[in-house]
């Protein structure tokens, strides 16, 4: 197991390296630069700025310099948010996004899993159809529609929750963003759980468990759900990576200082280091969560071996 994990982590290094290289050159060949304004800066000012940020060197030199600083854990200074380094920006925003993402993920897993199981146990009955219809709604209504509706109802009309802002991580500030973030995930998890749960309830080992006269709870939770959760785990791996690294829409609508906004801001402002930083963070999360999924697979399904 340990060997497998360390092997996987080692094989992630070339992947990460390639990702950094590709995105470095991609953003550099994009037209425009970080200091291009509506009214061009004075030539001398521009020259000095380029010198400070090493933009006057050749692309290869810049690439090597960047690689060197990344290897030492330094993502460099931000071009757009002057006075901030990327590390500082991420240190502030990443925990917020991760907190939101993790809460949404937990909520999705519990609520979605519960409804999925309920729907599967009452297959082709009223409960099943209503859960599946609700789930389809959850998948098809975009979150930038859900978010303003929720803020209007709970924030403006009822006045129970604040309409936006982070408020230093107050619980009430987190409710709406987490729900909005979790809704589509709840829907997908419910659908996946239902599908695999129906299959699991028909499988031989569940029939045997029934024949033993085990209680309904033991059969469903211990025997059926253990196998049925596998597709959900597969799905949640990449989804978790996406959730934890922040959502542009949610953070924009609710005014949350998370990392999600930096994707768009960085790319649009040609903030090279910021873009590269977000790319590296996301790639790391994706790789990490794929690994976690594979390990969880082995824990849940004894037939999976690491050979």
């Amino acid at each position: 197991m340990l060997r497998y994990v360390s092997g996987r982590l080692l094989s992630a290094i070339p992947t990460l390296f390639l990702i950094i290289t590709i995105s470095f050159f991609l953003i550099r060949i994009a037209p425009g630069g970080p200091f291009d304004l509506e009214r061009p800066l004075e030539a001398k000012v521009m020259e000095n700025l380029n010198k400070i940020y090493n933009l006057d060197k050749s692309l290869w030199e810049q690439y090597l310099l960047y690689m060197k600083s990344v290897l030492s854990g330094d993502f460099g200074p931000s071009f757009f948010f002057r006075d901030f380094s990327i590390n500082e920006l991420f240190a502030q925003s990443l925990p917020i996004s991760m907190q939101l993402g993790l809460s949404a993920l937990t909520l999705a897993l519990i609520v979605g899993g519960f409804f999925g199981v309920v729907a599967a146990l009452r297959q082709n009955q009223g409960v099943d159809y209503s859960v599946m219809t609700a789930a389809t709604f959850g998948v098809t209504i975009p979150n930038f529609v859900v978010a303003p509706c929720l803020t209007l109802i709970f924030g403006v009309y009822l006045g129970w929750l604040p309409v936006g802002g982070w408020g230093g991580g107050d619980f009430v500030n987190k409710v709406l963003p987490v729900i909005t973030l979790a809704l589509p995930q709840i829907a997908i998890v419910a659908r996946l759980t239902r599908g695999s749960m129906i299959e699991a309830m028909r499988s031989n080992h569940v029939r045997t468990a029934r024949a033993y006269g085990l209680s309904g709870y033991t059969i469903i939770v211990v025997h059926a759900l253990r196998g049925a959760i596998l597709p959900v785990v597969t799905y949640l791996g990449p989804a978790a990576a996406a959730l934890l690294t922040g959502s542009v829409v949610i953070e924009t609508i609710f005014g949350i200082p998370g990392i999600g906004r930096y994707f768009v801001q960085g790319a649009l402002n040609r903030d090279y280091t910021l873009v590269m930083g977000t790319v590296v963070v996301v790639a790391c999360f994706v790789i990490l969560f794929n690994l976690i999924v594979d390990v969880l697979y082995a824990v849940l399904d004894p037939r999976v071996r690491f050979d």
Partner: protein, 375 residues
């Protein structure tokens, strides 16, 4: 023996292909059939609607900014007089008497200046009156009678913040969104199918390298990719969505590769190989047609994904640009005006959601119909 020969004389029984079976199963699925009808309806509406509609999608009605959706015609009866008097005031006229008969305003006005037909233009410029006549000008030219027929218009979905008809805009947006969805999906599927079959069929090192590339592209943040494409292609949305399609092919390639791996072990492929058919021929004749089942299913699920992606980009202000519009643009505008003008959000969301709903149900129906495990 005689029995055999007798049978031979009859017309050969028409075989039922697997596609026939699948079609019948799909027809039996009520949700899927309804969805197909809904989708076709929305498509036809989007294509024909903007042509038939009396309003141009970009026509601005300044007198009808953010009017609620209604089956009744605008202007409302109580709207007419204030508008009339305010125009008269702008034209430096005093309204002496005002009557509204048979959808015509008849008013006697006085002015310090000489009144003539040119003053009718003040009224014609408004969206409420059409074909205004100034008659019975008194001898000194200071008094006249204005006959202003009220111009009635219908805004079934209301109007937006600029006074544009939401019905026409929703339909034209449907055109854009559906086109984008289809275009990007076709690109994604073409690349995905070719990539997946080649990778799966040739196997070995080729497969390893090709799938490694897919893995790496997977780990790149998708939004970064899309924004880079927007940066490169600028505001040209056709090019942009071809590019989005070029990003969305990764899942397709994986699905098709898996399918190819099992198909290439089939006897008919081995037979073709034994007969010396070229790899290209085998791929074209045997592999690609047999991967179509999952591809079609995935396609119906990819179209909504792309439409949502477009909405998301439009929400960020990177998608379709004004005055052209898409469901995403309309929805993000509607979300901003939710409190005062909920119809601006409701109608585009209704169209978008029913399209996505229909596509999802069609996808599920197709999956059930084409899934051999279900037989």
């Amino acid at each position: 023996m005689s029995v055999t020969s007798k049978e031979n004389n009859e017309a050969p029984v028409v075989g039922r292909s697997l596609w026939d079976d699948a079609r019948d199963r799909l027809k039996a699925n009520r949700a899927a059939v309804t969805s197909i009808v809904v989708l076709v309806l929305i498509t036809i509406l989007s294509i024909v609607g903007p042509i038939v509609s009396p309003h141009h999608y970009d026509a601005v009605y300044r007198d009808y900014v953010k009017v609620p959706a209604s089956l009744e015609a605008y202007p409302r009866q109580d709207q007419i007089e204030p508008t009339f008097t305010s125009i008269a005031k702008r034209a430096r006229m005093n309204v002496e008497s005002y009557t509204l008969v048979d959808d015509k305003v008849e008013a006697i006005v006085t002015s310090r200046r000489d009144l003539d037909q040119r003053y009718a233009r003040y009224f014609d410029r408004s969206d409420m009156f059409k074909g205004v006549q100034i008659v019975d000008v008194s001898d000194d030219g200071k008094q006249a009678k204005i006959v202003a027929p009220v111009h009635y218009m219908h805004f079934y979905f209301g109007t937006d913040a600029n006074g544009r008809d939401m019905l026409t805009r929703t339909l034209i947006a449907g055109r854009v969104s559906l086109t984008i969805g289809l275009l990007a999906t076709i690109v994604a599927i073409t690349i995905g199918v070719i990539y997946g079959t080649v990778s799966g069929y040739f196997g070995g090192k080729t497969d390893l390298i090709m799938m490694r590339v897919v893995d790496i592209l997977y780990s790149l943040p998708f939004i970064f990719f899309v924004i880079m494409l927007v940066v490169f292609f600028g505001r040209n949305f056709v090019l942009m969505f071809i590019a989005v399609g070029a990003v969305e092919w990764l899942d397709m390639a994986r699905i098709v590769r898996g399918q190819t791996l099992s198909i290439k072990r089939q006897e008919y492929v081995q037979a073709a190989e034994a007969m010396g058919v070229s790899s290209r021929g085998i791929l074209k004749r045997h592999i690609v047609p047999n991967t179509l089942g999952p591809v079609v299913v995935y396609m119906t699920l990819l179209v909504p994904k792309v439409i949502l992606l477009e909405s998301f980009l439009s929400f960020l202000g990177l998608g379709v640009q004004e005055p052209m519009t898409s469901w995403g643009v309309l929805i993000s505008e509607g979300a901003r005006n939710l409190q005062g003008a909920p119809w601006m959000l409701i109608f585009p969301s209704l169209f978008l959601t029913s399209t996505l709903f229909a596509l999802n149900f069609i996808g599920d129906g197709l999956r059930d119909a084409l899934d051999p495990k279900d037989r």
